[in-house]
C-alpha cells in the first residue's frame, strides 16, 4: 500500500500539544513556587505562560518562513551540510535528554508513591516499551492516541478540583508576599513544566491547517496548559498552608491522597496510573522527534526504524543516575540544554534567516 503521510487535524494538534506539554512538573510546581513566589505562584505561572507564548511566536516566525519544512530540514537549509547535520545531532541529543529526564522523574514519583519495592529498571523498561510502541507509529496514529488519552484529563481535573472543598482562600494571600522580583525569578522553576511545545518544530508541516490557524491552535493549547497549571497551583496553595507546603514535595498527590471519595480511599493510587499515561505521551513526543531527526540525519524516509535505538538510548541514560544527586544533575543539564535549544538556537535561526534572506518563499 502507498505510505502517504497523512496530516493531522487542527483539533488533534490542540490535544497533541497539550499532551506533550503536561508532564511530570505539575506535581511539584506548587512546592517549588511556595519556596520562591509564595502567594504569587499563580502569577508566576501566568508569566511563564506568556513567555512560552513569545517563544511559540518565535518558532512560528521561523517555521512559516520555510513552508513544508520541519526543524531538521531548516537546520540543513540554514547551516549547510556539515553544520546543519551537527545542529540536527544536537537537537536529537536534546530531545533524547528531555525524554529521559521526564521518564526518570516519572519513575521517581511512581516509586515514591506506589511502587517502592519495584526495581527502577523494570519501571523504566515498562515506560520504554510503551513509548516505543507508540513512537514508531505514524504521526496520525499518535495523534489519535493522544486524542483518546485526553479523556483522562477529566478524572485528573475532577480529582484535583475535589480538593477545592477543603480550600481556604486566605492561605493564598497576600499575593505579593514575596515581592515582584521573586515572583519573576520563580518563572525559572516553572518553565521546565512548560516544555513539550517544541514538538511543533517537528510536526508543523504535518498539520492540516493554514499557518495562522496553526499559531492560534498552538496558542490555545498553551493557554489551556497555563490555566490548568494556575488552577492546580492555586488549589494547592489554598488547601495547604505555606508551612505545610514546605514539607510536601509533591503537593498535588498529597492533596488527592487526603480526599475521601467514599467508593475509594487513596485516590492518589488511581491518579498515578492515569497520569502516567499522560506522561507516556510526553515522552513519546520527544522520542518521535528524535527518531524523525535521525531519519533526517541518515536520509531515510521512515522514522520507525530509528525509534528502537532512540528508546534504547533513553532507557540507558535513565539507568545511569544512581543517586538523587545524579538525578538532579540530569535535571539541571536538561534545563540548560533547553535554554540553548529552545531559546538561543531558534532565535539565532530566525535572526540568521532574516539576515541572509535565504529563499524567501512565502506560502499562502
Amino acid at each position: 500500500m502507498a505510505q502517504t503521510e497523512k496530516k493531522i487535524s487542527a483539533r488533534q494538534l490542540f490535544l497533541f500539544i497539550i499532551q506533550a506539554q503536561i508532564g511530570v512538573g505539575v506535581l511539584s510546581i506548587p512546592y517549588k513556587l511556595n519556596e520562591t513566589a509564595r502567594g504569587g505562584a499563580g502569577i508566576t505561572v501566568l508569566i511563564t505562560g506568556a513567555i512560552t507564548q513569545l517563544i511559540i511566536l518565535m518558532f512560528w516566525l521561523l517555521l512559516r518562513k520555510f513552508p513544508g519544512l520541519n526543524l531538521f530540514q531548516i537546520c540543513l537549509r540554514l547551516g549547510g551540510r556539515v553544520f546543519g547535520k551537527l545542529l540536527i545531532a544536537g537537537y536529537i541529543g536534546y530531545f533524547v535528554l528531555l525524554g529521559a529526564n521526564i521518564m526518570l522523574s516519572a519513575v521517581g514519583v511512581l516509586q515514591r508513591w506506589m511502587m517502592n519495592a519495584t526495581p527502577t529498571w523494570i519501571l523504566l523498561g515498562l515506560f520504554s516499551i510503551m513509548t516505543y510502541y507508540l513512537a514508531k507509529e505514524k504521526l496520525t496514529v499518535m495523534a489519535r492516541f493522544y486524542t483518546l488519552s485526553s479523556a483522562l484529563f477529566i478524572p485528573l481535573i475532577i480529582f484535583v478540583s475535589y480538593g477545592l472543598t477543603q480550600a481556604r482562600l486566605e492561605y493564598m494571600f497576600p499575593l505579593m508576599e514575596a515581592g515582584i522580583w521573586n515572583i519573576l525569578k520563580a518563572t525559572k522553576d516553572t518553565t521546565i513544566s512548560m516544555y513539550g511545545f517544541e514538538v511543533i518544530l517537528v510536526i508543523f508541516p504535518f498539520i492540516d491547517a493554514s499557518d495562522k490557524k496553526k499559531l492560534m491552535i498552538i496558542s490555545m493549547s498553551n493557554l489551556f496548559v497555563t490555566l490548568f497549571y494556575v488552577f492546580v497551583v492555586c488549589t494547592c496553595l489554598m488547601v495547604f498552608s505555606s508551612e505545610q507546603l514546605r514539607l510536601i514535595p509533591e503537593p498535588v498527590l498529597y492533596l488527592v491522597k487526603s480526599l475521601n471519595f467514599y467508593i475509594v480511599d487513596r485516590a492518589d493510587v488511581l491518579f498515578l496510573p492515569i497520569w502516567s499515561i499522560t506522561l507516556v505521551c510526553s515522552i513519546t513526543s520527544y522520542a518521535y522527534a528524535a527518531s524523525v531527526g535521525l531519519a533526517q540525519l541518515f536520509e531515510r524516509k521512515s522514522h520507525g526504524v530509528f525509534t528502537p535505538y532512540v528508546n534504547a538510548v533513553i532507557f540507558f541514560i535513565t539507568l545511569l543516575p544512581a543517586t538523587p544527586l545524579a538525578t538532579r544533575r540530569l535535571d539541571v543539564s536538561a534545563e540548560y540544554a533547553a535554554y540553548l535549544f529552545i531559546f538561543i538556537l531558534p532565535f539565532a535561526m530566525v535572526f540568521g534567516s532574516k539576515l541572509f534572506k535565504k529563499k524567501v518563499e512565502r506560502s499562502a
Binding site: R11, L126, L148, D265
Partner: protein, 472 residues
C-alpha cells in the same frame, strides 16, 4: 480450473464412455437408455444432484407423447442448451444438469434439473432479535441474494461474482450499493479477492483471514452476520458484503470496533432505552476484560484503595485461600472456559446439566474447599456475564483472551501494569485499519457526529446520514 474442451463424438457409446471415464466411474452417475423415436439415446445425470421429479415431469413424460415434435420443443425444463463440448457437459452435470445424448449426433442437450434440498429460511439462532425481520441466510447463494434484494429494491445494488479456490472453485458474491460505496474500497476488496490463491476455500473464515489488514491482531476485522436485514443496513451504509456459496454467513467490510457493539434491536427500541442498553454494553466491555485484572491488582498491591470495611470483607475471604490472587483467578477463569466450551458442543438438554454442575457444584464447592475466595468467584462470574453481553461472538472471544495478559500484567505490576497493558491495547486499536478505514472510529480519530451513534443512540432524525470521516 478445467479449461480444456472435448468435442462430442458421433457414437453414443463413445460419449457415455468418455463421461464415465471423466467422472472416474463414480457410482452415482446414472445412464438411462431411452430411445427417441428410433434412435438410441441416453439420459445421463448424477443422481445425487438432480431432482427425479423434474426429470419425470419435464423430460420423460413429454418424450413419451412425442408425436413427431422435435426434442427442443419437447423438453420443458427451465433451461435447455444444445452443446457439443463434452467438458462443458460434465461441468453441467456437476451443477445438477442432466444430459440427453443421441446416437449419431455430436450435439447433446443439457437440461437443468437441479435438486434443491435446502433448509428453510429460519432466524439465525445466535443472532436472535426481539423485534424486526426474523429471517436469516441459508446455505444457498441465490436465496441469500434474493433475501438481500428484498430489502434493497434499487437498481443500485450490485452483485459481482468471483471464484475462489484453485482445485475446488467456489463462488463468492460481492455486494455493494453503487453510489453509496467508495469506489476505492470496491477496488481494494476486488484486488484482495483476486489475490486469494488457495486450493480450497472451506468457509468464510478462510476468506476473512486471507483478506484482513492485520492478521496478527486479536480483533475481528470483518463483521459477520447471518441476518439479511443487518447486511442490508450495512450495504446502505456504504459497506461491502461478501457471501460465499454454501455458507449462510455474510462478511462485511470494512468493520470498525464499535459495529461489534451494535445490534439491529438498538434501532427498534426507543432511543433512550437503546442508549441505556448501549451504555450497559459499554460497561460490559470494560468489565469483560479488565475486572479480574483490577481485582487482582487491588488485592495484591493496592488494598489501601478499598474503604476499610470492604477491605476487611475481602481480606477475610482471602485469608482462607492458600494461593496468590493470580493463581486463584487463573484457576477459576480456566474452569469457566472449560465449562463454556463444554456447554457449546452439547445438546441443550445435557447443557443444563453442565450449568448445574458448573454453576452450583463447582462454584460452591471450590470456595468451600478453600481453593478460591468468594470475592474472586463474584468477579469471575461478573466477567463471564459481561462477556456474554457483547452482541458479536467474535469480539466477545477476543476480549476473553485479552483478559489473560492483562491479568498477568496486573499481578506483576499492579495498576501500573494495567495502565501499561491498556496503553499497548489502545495504541494497537488506534493504528489498526480495516480496508483503509480507521478501526477505532469515531473515537480515534475523534468525530463528534459519529459519537452520537456509538455510546448512545441519539434519535434517528438527529443521527441522520452518518458523516463520512475524512479526518485522520
Amino acid at each position: 480450473m478445467n479449461e480444456s474442451s472435448q468435442h462430442a463424438f458421433f457414437s453414443l457409446e463413445q460419449n457415455t464412455k468418455y463421461i464415465q471415464k471423466a467422472l472416474f466411474d463414480t457410482h452415482d452417475l446414472k445412464i438411462k437408455h431411452h430411445p427417441y423415436k428410433d434412435t438410441q439415446g441416453a439420459l445421463i445425470y448424477l443422481e445425487s444432484l438432480v431432482d427425479p421429479a423434474l426429470i419425470e415431469r419435464n423430460i420423460l413424460a413429454p418424450m413419451s407423447f412425442a408425436e413427431g415434435k422435435s426434442l427442443s420443443e419437447l423438453f420443458t425444463t427451465l433451461r435447455m442448451e444444445r452443446s457439443n463440448d463434452l467438458e462443458k457437459g460434465i461441468q453441467g452435470l456437476m451443477q445438477g444438469s442432466c444430459l440427453y445424448v443421441l446416437d449419431g449426433d455430436d450435439e447433446f442437450y443439457a437440461l437443468t434439473t437441479p435438486a434443491k434440498y435446502e433448509r428453510s429460511i429460519t432466524e439465525p439462532e445466535n443472532e436472535a432479535i426481539v423485534r424486526g425481520p426474523h429471517n436469516g441466510f441459508i446455505e444457498n447463494l441465490t436465496v441469500n441474494l434474493h433475501l438481500v434484494r428484498q430489502h434493497i429494491g434499487t437498481p443500485d445494488l450490485t452483485v459481482r461474482y468471483h471464484t475462489v479456490g484453485n482445485t475446488v472453485p467456489r463462488k463468492v458474491a460481492m455486494l455493494y450499493v453503487q453510489n453509496l460505496c467508495d469506489n476505492e474500497l470496491v477496488q481494494k476488496v476486488e484486488r484482495r479477492l483476486s489475490e486469494i490463491s488457495l486450493d480450497t476455500v472451506m468457509s468464510t473464515g478462510f476468506i476473512q483471514e486471507l483478506m484482513e489488514d492485520n492478521p496478527f491482531s486479536i480483533f475481528p476485522q470483518h463483521v459477520n452476520t447471518e441476518r439479511p436485514d443487518h447486511t442490508s443496513a450495512y450495504l446502505v451504509d456504504g459497506h461491502i458484503a461478501l457471501i460465499l456459496e454454501g455458507d449462510p454467513t455474510a462478511l462485511i467490510v470494512p468493520a470498525c470496533f464499535f459495529t461489534f457493539y451494535q445490534t439491529p434491536d438498538d434501532y427498534n427500541n426507543r432511543w433512550m432505552i437503546a442508549s441505556f442498553i448501549r451504555f450497559i454494553r459499554l460497561i460490559s466491555f470494560i468489565t469483560a476484560f479488565q475486572l479480574p485484572a483490577i481485582y487482582i491488582a487491588t488485592v495484591s498491591f493496592h488494598s489501601n484503595v478499598l474503604p476499610i470495611q470492604l477491605f476487611f470483607t475481602v481480606q477475610g475471604s482471602l485469608t482462607r485461600v492458600p494461593y496468590p490472587p493470580i493463581v486463584e483467578a487463573m484457576i477459576l477463569e480456566l474452569i469457566f472456559e472449560l465449562l463454556r466450551e463444554a456447554g457449546l458442543r452439547l445438546p441443550s438438554r445435557v447443557g443444563q446439566t453442565i450449568g448445574i454442575v458448573g454453576g452450583l457444584v463447582i462454584g460452591d464447592a471450590i470456595v468451600k474447599a478453600g481453593l478460591v475466595s468468594y470475592t474472586m468467584t463474584i468477579v469471575v462470574a461478573l466477567t463471564a456475564i459481561s462477556s456474554f453481553l457483547i452482541p458479536s461472538n467474535e469480539m466477545s472471544s477476543s476480549l476473553r483472551i485479552l483478559r489473560f495478559p492483562l491479568m498477568i500484567a496486573a499481578a506483576l505490576f499492579g495498576y501500573i501494569g494495567i495502565a501499561f497493558g491498556l496503553t499497548l491495547l489502545f495504541v494497537h486499536l488506534c493504528k489498526l485499519e480495516s480496508f483503509g478505514k480507521p478501526y477505532f472510529y469515531p473515537i480515534a480519530p475523534l468525530k463528534f457526529q459519529g459519537l452520537k451513534d456509538t455510546f448512545s443512540r441519539f434519535p434517528v432524525w438527529n443521527i441522520r446520514k452518518k458523516a463520512q470521516g475524512n479526518d485522520n
